[in-house]
């Protein structure tokens, strides 16, 4: 495709063309394309898409699609998730849905509701049996998915990882945050903010491959600094009410703690609530990951100094895009390691998140251009 790296160019191009009709109710493709472009992420790939769609006047119904990529079947991609009903992944599902609509594909969201690895393995087997065109899986375990992923690839089904990665797995690419680097950045922040003393690190499920690397990264950064900081890793459990009472109890029992940090969305929200309850903002250093609505509000209120965004929307959008490109290019293109980022949000920079409701945060179902 032409090297129209400017999203605006692509939008102009699109505006000149007849907008294709996507026969799904409530889907405004033009608005979708525009806001996708304006997010300015993955600029290269997105603008390629825009140009592609702009020059296509065909509909993308269920019976295959005749786009700039040529006539292609309506590919079906399966997302295997560890907590299918967890609100963190609501934007991920919107991302997958939007990319599927854009490209004339469909997606299925399945797996386990409760981090049950056996159920996830079963879901991969079902996807292979159903002859899915591609699989995206959150590799939350270091061992469980090696054989199933190899089996899928052997059956000719491309597999990418999203949200969590396992070293040594045969997946074609990983789409998500570089978890260890995220932990290191947090560790550097701990070093500069706290300096010395006891620091608690809260983690929902220690050892899970989507969280543990952040702890390891933080430990590495603190160790490298040589500062007299003692890290205490505290397991909080996977359910928010339990996390809240664990963190509350930890603070009550360890009031000399200089800093408290969390490495998962649930623990971060709970940590923020504890900070608010005891009015610790400014007295104890604190920060975490992800953007639940509560976390956003409490960062805005100053109870939590920062939270780190990893763009869950893109973790649904990009797997569909990569798998689609891989299919239409006959395996020549599409696959790349995609770091969905590591964005520190503080009291000021979180404002646009607090003030908006969007599919990117999972707080709105409506497709619309978000005004900053």
């Amino acid at each position: 495709m032409p090297e129209t790296d400017q999203p605006q160019d692509a939008v102009a191009h699109l505006d000149g063309a007849d907008a294709a009709v996507i026969d799904r109710p409530g889907f405004d493709r033009r608005a979708f394309l525009r806001r996708t472009a304006l997010t300015g992420v993955g600029v290269g790939s997105v603008s390629t898409l825009l140009a592609a769609c702009g020059s296509s006047a065909s509909s993308s119904g269920s019976g295959g699609s005749d786009s700039v990529f040529g006539s292609h079947p309506s590919y079906k991609f399966v997302f295997v998730n560890h907590v299918t009903t967890n609100p963190f992944f609501t934007p991920t599902q919107y991302g997958a849905a939007d990319a599927s609509n854009l490209l004339g594909c469909s997606y299925q969201w399945t797996g386990s509701e409760s981090s049950n690895v056996n159920q996830m393995v079963n879901a991969i087997s079902s996807a292979v049996t159903a002859k899915a065109d591609g699989i995206a899986v959150a590799l939350i375990d270091l061992h469980a998915f090696n054989a199933p992923v190899e089996a899928a690839i052997k059956a000719g089904i491309p597999v990418v990882a999203y949200n969590a990665d396992a070293p040594g797995n045969a997946r074609l690419s990983y789409i998500g945050q570089d978890l260890k680097k995220a932990g290191e950045k947090m560790g550097e922040r701990i070093v500069s903010d706290v300096g010395s003393g006891d620091v608690a690190l809260f983690i929902a499920t220690p050892g899970s491959a989507n969280l543990q690397p952040r702890i390891e990264g933080a430990e590495k950064a603190v160790k490298a600094s040589g500062k007299p900081i003692t890290l205490h890793t505290v397991a909080t459990g996977a359910a928010v009410p339990g996390e809240l009472s664990t963190i509350d109890a930890y603070w009550v029992g360890h009031k000399s703690t200089k800093g408290m940090y969390a490495v998962d969305g649930g623990s971060t929200e709970s940590l923020a609530k504890v900070m608010q309850k005891y009015s610790l903002g400014g007295k104890v250093k604190a920060g975490g990951f992800d953007l639940t609505e509560q976390t956003q509000n409490l960062v805005k209120a100053g109870d939590l100094e920062f939270t780190i965004d990893q763009q869950p929307y893109l973790q649904g959008f990009l797997p569909v895009l990569q798998l689609f490109m891989y299919k239409v290019s006959g395996t020549l293109s599409g696959i790349y390691e995609a770091d969905t980022g590591l964005k520190f949000l503080d009291k000021e920079s979180i404002t646009p998140y607090v003030n908006s409701k969007s599919r990117y945060e999972g707080t709105s179902t409506a497709a619309k251009v978000v005004s900053a």
Binding site: N81, T110, S114, N116, S126, A130, H143, N146, Q212
Partner: protein
Amino acid sequence: MASVAGGSAAETPPAAPRDPGHTPRVPLQRAVFERVISLREGSIIVVTIVTAIYFSANTSSFFTGANFETLLPYFAPFAILAAGEVFVMILGEIDLSIGAMYLFAPILFHKLYADVGLGLVPGVIVTLLLVTLVGALNGFFVAVVGINSFVATLAMLFTFEGLALIISHGTPVATPGAQVPLDTFGKVFGGGIYSELIWAVAIVVILQVVLTFTRWGLYTVAIGSNKLGAAEAGVKVKAVMIRNYMLCALTAGLVGIFEAVRSATVQPDPAGANEILFLAVAAGVIGGTLLTGGSGTIVGALIGALFLGILKDGLILQGVNANYLLFYTGLAVIVAMTANVYVSRARRGHSGSG
């Protein structure tokens, strides 16, 4: 495989002499159908077959050899869990702690293998012995102390899920003996494609025989029907109850190890285990075992598990998303169970007329 417990033992004999008289007048298919639904498991068999036909007709990949293999882990582990649970349910009790045994056994196995230095097979044996002891403890609290079984086993569920988290430090580890390529140990204990199926069928057959033809089975049904009467008739009620709880814990521990070997990982997260527990109890009830006790079938539990497995696999093959999966599963179970009730009524009417 005919009938099992107390009541049905009386049902079958009258049906037998009646059949010859009917054969000339009733068409063959109808006779076969009536014969099938006159079984205790008959109605759930019909419902399961209808479900399978539905998915075969609507999903091209359902009725394939590949899906047969895919389907196995959707039901085989639950069939084993439910087989043990049925023995407790026939007593009129429940064992919720199977969720904890399922979670705890592989963690214990890993501990024994990695830290104590036992071999793979001795590790499994010691694990199962210890888990069975926990089952005895369940039985002790219910039968001897007299705590309500729901509460007693719920407490044990929490205790041993907690203990599982404590001794594993909440960290998943690789299952011993499950590294690829699988050796004989891995293939036998859950890793082989047909391993869990073979275990499930073997366990179901053995336990069905125990339930139907042995004194142990007879006593179990007698206690569930009338505990006091059984005691007065000389049945050692407490011993039988404790034994059944031990059996239930043993099957749950075995499944825990199979599933850990199959996925090559030992997971300490209790959330997944709690879901397993409810599916196992559901498989037993759907299969025709009464929660109130006094009647039950192991083969039915296998078919109940098969029904739930077909439902889930079929819905996933059809492309149903997670949020809808629960919804459809719920609706399907209600529809199937409604059908089950009506088929059972037909069955009772049928055998009642004989």
